[in-house]
Amino acid sequence: MTFEEILLKSEKPARYSGGEYNTPDMEKPCDVRFCICMPDLYEVGMSNLGLKILYHVLNDQKNVVCERCFAPALDFRALLKENGIPLMSLETKKPLKEFDMVGFSVQYEMLFTGVLYVMDAAGIPFYAKDRGEEYPIICGGGPSTINPEPIADFFDLFMVGEGEEMIVKLTDLYAKCKAAGKTKTQFLALAEKIEGIYVPSRNTPKRRKIVKKAVVRDFEHCFYPTAQLMPTLEVVHDRAMLELYRGCQNGCRFCQAGYYYRPIRFRSKNTVKALIERLIRETGFDEISLGSLSTGDYPYLEELLSEVNPICAKARVHLALPSLRLSSFKKEFAESSRKSSLTFAPEAGTQRLRDVINKNVTEEEIRTGLSAAFDQGYNSVKLYFMLGLPTETDEDLMGIVELVKMIRRLYHENHKGGVNISVSCSVFIPKPGTPFQWERQITREEMSRKQFLLKDELRKVKGASFHYHDRETSELEAIFARGDRALAPLIELAYKKGAMFDSWTEHFHYEIWEEAMAELKIDKEKYLGEQPLDKPLPWEFIDIGVTRAFLLREREKAYRAECTLGCDKGCQGCGAMALALCDEVKKK
């Protein structure tokens, strides 16, 4: 069968056809051919802002052509295999093997097997040491590089931190090395000198060098593509995404992103406005999402909305404001949002536990915010919590139930009819780069006990519904999150036994993982239990800016249930400023 015939036999040919509007020039002469690869389906990969930024940044270079590749769905993978066709890029249908560089964007730990799945389909050996000069340089990037150790052996290098400037330095260096006829080893030795680049073969647990996370110092003027690729079929986040700022001032102690994306850098109101106008003209999306870790904390939000709301209304573009804090819930914001259900995340049921995790939201704020929302006509609330947080007791779980009852009462004070309160509980995962990185994860038995306790109690509350995360997935995520290099063989073995697309529950089989762990004699307790304070953790060679001393101080404060103020009240001395000045600090 020809490729075209295979396409037509697949479930959704448009996933693999390419040809999106705003595709850059693929024919231009170039020195470096780069392929960005997302080990997930087209619909998920094309929803990722980071991928679009890097794709366009590279194609904007005179000497680089960058293409894309996503994980083939199982049906298409089988068709490729049957016909002996290796996985190819979307744009020019070039086998992955023939690129100079292939960059995997690894968004979270559950995609680790996806990386192998893609390499397998492309006919690329898994381990860096088994790949000679004839293979592309395999690079890794994305949020999971805060601890790349579990997959370190599969990669030639990692880009740690923000990619848009680092990746250009990297392709420039590659072009120079290629022209000078340098070997892969020689290239890697030079690449290591670029800020943010980690070369696992030259930087091993025995001989550690510190890798400093790359950050964009001038966020206001940094590259952002407005003429972005338009997906050919409906994708998960089918809208334009624009960051208002990077970093987060709140310092929730469980939140990896909150620390990892520091320092705090805002885009000015005028820049955001200009970008929105260009997005409307150049993409035609009917929705623009103003994303950031906590959108309501953007200091110019109100002014911005008053200026751009009329522009968007005229073009009939909807502005979405995700991640609004309840305390920043205001009438104007509610109106520019068309959601019928209000979502917010108290994360813990009692004030004590919220103080432990430094989630600075009080019951009073919840009351005021929700009253305002109910008056706006909302009658559906979604609440997110975490189970298994450090110091948690059953009292804290009962606090969740009390909170739900309080919300119900609040609604009925002034409103008729029923209110839907949906409670969603994930499991706390101790994440690298947070004050809780040394904590233990609760066992699956504990998870199950807590989940059922809540389920029984919430069943008694009218209008309430309860959802909880899968215990096995949470456990595996925790193992990977704090993993070390001993896990690469586990990922390989599990993949060979059939573990793939672990992020999709219907494909997740924990038995495979347990079997593989048993075969390799891997003790999961090493990763799930409390970590020693006196030894460096496997990922601590990565300098994310936030210092160990700060994390330890936050940990102590957590045990005392003491809050740390947000950076808007003054710099708390986390250390991220050493990478680039925080805008909060510049103001003062």
Binding site: T2, E4, E5, L7, L8, P13, A14, S17, G18, G19, E20, Y21, M230, T232, L233, E234, D238, I280, R281, E282, T283, G284, F285, D286, A315, R316, V317
Partner: protein, 228 residues
């Protein structure tokens, strides 16, 4: 006023489903800066009426969509093509005086597919059009049924390297890809359905087939309700 855009669906765009196609048009119109009429109601959406759905994988040079807008006809085509995705290029714009209801009125379409080996069997292949009954197996969602497709065939012509068929399309449709594969199987020749084009579609007027372009041209001049 009403505008009808005749456009291609070809290249990579032939893999786009009918639903996804709509999204491409609303985005293209927004890029062009067109003000298109919206529906009323709780969740207003841009009103773009697509023609009859084309099965995935088939190219076309005769697709029609209808919108209400105040953008002048000539400007519409030019501006649309400036920002249209490759494969959905505009060919021509009509300005009918009444709503042509393209999807509802379409009754037939012409297709052309690459073939080899049909020339030698030209007589038999073309003769199919005269059969009073032609049972064909049709697979739908895993189920196989047998259907008499004879009434759904308007014409069959064999040309060097090509096979052209004219089939029912619209409310009653015979899928061209399935039908040419059926013919190829029956008379033992080859068709290449990856090279299958739709190039014309028809309405029925006074009992005879009328090309969509002619029909729209007539509606541009007179708003007299044409007899169906």
């Amino acid at each position: 006023m009403i505008l009808v855009l005749k456009h291609y669906k070809r290249g990579n765009m032939k893999y786009i489903s009918h639903i996804d196609l709509l999204r491409h048009f609303t985005r293209t119109f927004r890029r062009a800066g067109f003000e298109i009429e919206y529906s009323g109601g709780f969740n207003p959406h841009m009103q773009v009426n697509l023609g009859t759905p084309l099965p995935l994988g088939i190219s076309s040079s005769a697709e029609y969509l209808t919108v209400r807008t105040d953008v002048p006809k000539e400007e519409f085509l030019e501006e649309y093509n400036r920002v249209a995705p490759a494969g959905l290029e505009g060919i021509r714009v009509f300005q009918p005086l009444t709503n042509p209801n393209v999807a509802g009125r379409t009754v037939a379409a012409d297709y052309s597919v690459a073939q080899s080996g049909a020339e030698e069997k030209r007589r038999e292949v073309e003769g199919v059009v005269n059969l009073l009954s032609l049972p064909m197996q049709i697979e739908k969602k895993g189920e196989t049924t047998v259907k008499d497709v004879a009434p759904l065939i308007n014409a069959i012509k064999v040309y060097p390297g090509r096979l052209n068929v004219s089939l029912a399309a619209g409310n009653v449709t015979l899928r061209p890809d399935k039908f040419v594969e059926f013919l190829a199987g029956k008379f033992d020749f080859e068709v290449k359905t990856t090279d299958l084009w739709k190039y014309e579609q028809y309405v029925r007027e006074n009992g005879v087939l009328l090309e969509m372009d002619r029909f729209l041209e007539k509606l541009e001049k007179s708003n007299e309700e044409t007899k169906v």
